[in-house]
Symmetry: C2
Subunit: 119 residues, 2 copies
């Protein structure tokens, strides 16, 4: 039951595309991630994912459209829907998702990080 | 898969202590609430709750201590732990919790709102 200051946690995060877990509740994780550039196309068979922008902005691409997100906006990507985050400049994002999720679903990529650090 | 702008949703919320649901994923709800004053002591037998401060600040009281929260900080209250939010001035909070939760557990109070509107 300790409070978590998002700015303090974000200051501890170096690099891109590697979420850090900052909270857990009801089998879900809260994690923070910084990224820039294009991720890989992927989906999650059993998990919905929420992306809340804390700093900057990014575009979530779907196969048939895309959604632009800026600070203070969130998007829920339902299970099974292919998506790809793209950020022109570095963005800071808070995510909610099941603790059991695989970062990029079944896709294998150098961007895959299987074990996320808790900070 | 529509984005949700927190400021737009918050502008739609009048009154205090009545959460509005703004998202659902993995059996969990994202809701927004404004409040001021003292709530009632309560706990939730089966649900952990996350409180993220979007504007202002408040104090989460526990039976043995309290935690002060300001903008950009969150706190997870584990299931079964009695708590009471207290805000000197109006605060805006985003919460993340199981969809099945009862707002104030088993406690009966005029502050109870059983059916939350989606906005």
């Amino acid at each position: 039951m300790n409070k978590v200051n998002l700015a303090e946690k974000l200051a501890m995060i170096g690099g891109h595309w590697t979420p850090r877990i900052v909270g857990e509740l009801n089998g879900q994780h809260v994690n923070l991630v910084k990224f820039q550039g294009e991720f890989v196309w992927h989906d999650h068979g059993d998990e919905d994912e929420l992306f809340l922008v804390l700093k900057g902005g990014f575009r979530m691409e779907f196969r048939d459209r895309s959604v632009e997100l800026t600070v203070g906006a969130f998007l829920i990507v339902p299970k099974g829907v292919e998506h790809r985050p793209v950020a022109i400049e570095e963005v800071e994002v808070m995510r909610f998702e099941p603790a059991a999720i695989q970062y990029i679903g079944e896709v294998d990529s150098p961007m895959t990080v299987r074990n996320w650090e808790r900070i």
